[in-house]
Symmetry: C2
Subunit: 328 residues, 2 copies
């Protein structure tokens, strides 16, 4: 499979808001520590900047290959945030560039939701809720992909970190104003975190990372949920929204599984308990399972399966774009 024919190594890459991570696997097992850049790949007028991604990726790949003593890659899988809508340049330029620079003949470009799915459920049919600052649900019957939400903090991402934090801050300001639906517990938390709330608009609106600022308040909502009914209602509504998205993408029949993945679920039972109830109500046929791994594990799984001609997940230009070239 590899040019040297010695070791069936693959490379898995995750490109997201916090930078690029790359992992090499030999015989299906990660080899050594992953490498990470701290700089997110730029998005330009033509979408995700292929040149900027390669600038970061190629030196990492060469270092990982040298450390493992491999001289070829059976496959590369790149998971990238924004691929579905901003991936045209990656699709156009990565296959030839990776072939030229690293001899890669099998390449998968996957939306970050797809690597999240593959990491959580492998190639089982079902639905995965991926939630951090944002929120998206992705599902497949192994014939095609479906996605729901993931529209960003103004149009959706309902139930994600920014959504929960925003709702919590609104409840804090309702208490400040004396409006219905306010929470003095959340007002105290907001003042503790941001200072006097009358200054909050001036602190939030000029920032370019507004969704992250909003999401930073989500753990405070979770911390209040045990004793504050307003905070508990926010998390219940978040859980309902997430389950609605999962229900929209989950196969209706068969052996559907459902899993959750992403940093938002670190808040634990305050969110997971109502989410379990909402999933049981809205997706009674789907079996709830723990996520097997994270998006890097998912990219690795895709790369290994692609190298072994065993990729069972549906191919699709926007979600999982695969370029293969027959080896001699």
């Amino acid at each position: 499979m590899t040019r040297g024919g010695a070791l069936p190594a693959v490379l898995a890459v995750d490109s997201g808001g916090s930078g690029l991570r790359a992992v090499l696997a030999v015989r299906g097992e990660p080899f050594g520590a992953p490498l990470a850049s701290k700089e997110p790949v730029r998005t330009g007028p033509r979408g995700i900047d292929a040149g900027h991604l390669l600038e970061q990726l190629l030196p990492m790949a060469r270092r990982l290959m040298a450390a493992a003593g491999v001289d070829g890659l059976g496959a590369v899988a790149v998971g990238a945030a924004g691929l579905a809508t901003l991936g045209a340049e990656l699709r156009a330029e990565l296959p030839s560039a990776l072939k030229r620079e690293l001899g890669v003949r099998r390449l998968a470009l996957a939306a970050d939701a797809v690597t999240a799915y593959a990491g959580a459920l492998g190639h089982q049919p079902g639905a995965v809720i991926a939630a951090g600052t944002g929120m998206i649900a992705i599902g497949t019957d192994l014939t095609s992909w479906r996605r729901a939400d993931g529209w960003g903090h103004l149009l959706g991402d309902c139930g994600g970190g920014a959504w929960i934090g925003r709702a919590g801050l609104e409840a804090a300001l309702r208490a400040f104003d004396g409006r219905r639906g306010g929470s003095t517990a959340l007002l105290e938390r907001a003042e503790g975190m941001f200072g006097p709330v009358s200054d909050l608009p001036g602190k939030l609106y000029p920032r370019t990372d507004r969704p992250a600022v909003l999401a930073s308040f989500a753990p405070e909502v979770a911390a209040c949920a045990g004793r504050d009914p307003v905070a508990a209602d926010i998390l219940r509504a978040a859980a309902r929204h997430m389950a609605e998205s999962a229900a929209a993408v989950c196969p209706a029949d068969g052996e559907a599984q459902v899993a959750v993945t992403g940093g938002l679920f670190k808040m634990g039972d305050a969110l997971l308990a109502p989410l379990g109830e909402e999933l049981a109500e809205q997706l009674p046929h789907a079996r709830r399972v723990p996520a097997a791994g994270d998006p890097v594990d998912g990219a690795l799984r895709i790369a290994v399966d692609l190298a072994n001609d065993e990729l069972a997940l549906p191919r699709d230009q926007r979600m999982l774009y695969v370029v293969t070239e027959k080896t001699d």
Copy 2:
């Protein structure tokens, strides 16, 4: 009252997101057409830029005074968006500058919510809901001001134009995804207005006028409300939020009146009918009255009352800041 002693003229100014408007009144009646600039007054690191406001205002004031044949002003009232939080430089510089340049000895600096109130209810106690892209409620018992919401499109402005439009677009995208709570009628409207909704995030998020883009969809929600229950529910929720804000600021006893003002109410009964019901439920003691006038009328009312020593509205540094100097 005026330096010439001939005509008790006053000047009213409204500074907002679409620029500056100035009206001269003689004997309490507007004289000639108002003058308007198209450029909003800049906000700098020290808040609303007093120099930029004066650059626009002084030539307008001189033109209006020359046209009316007056050589002095009994009072000036300036209503300014953002005064409460961004008005420090205006409070520091406008009194001396207007005295030096125009001989002004009585000046009122009012938050735009206060001119909206004065325009709608004059000096009656009560509450006013002012809604356009944003939403704020302001109320007074004639002793002090109370305000509720007006926190901007991410933290509140619940029920305003951006809030309604955002909720409508979320419902459109729910229909697109096949999620619960979707509206195919709103999806059609969204596609008619913005094109394929899959491109909507790329069109919305890079803009700097995101609240205005969201608010531009509010009339489409109103247009669907007669036959689409999701759209009707959005307007009902908007009405409930607005009434909640009004209830938080309206005096609980006495002869409280409640009025609505602002461009959002051009959408008519689709919003006004549920708002009437919510006000009746949440503020049963307040008498609903039509707004007597708009914020420019309110600034004019404040200027005339100030010139005549009859200003009955409560003074307050952030809401209605008044500087008077005894005339000889």
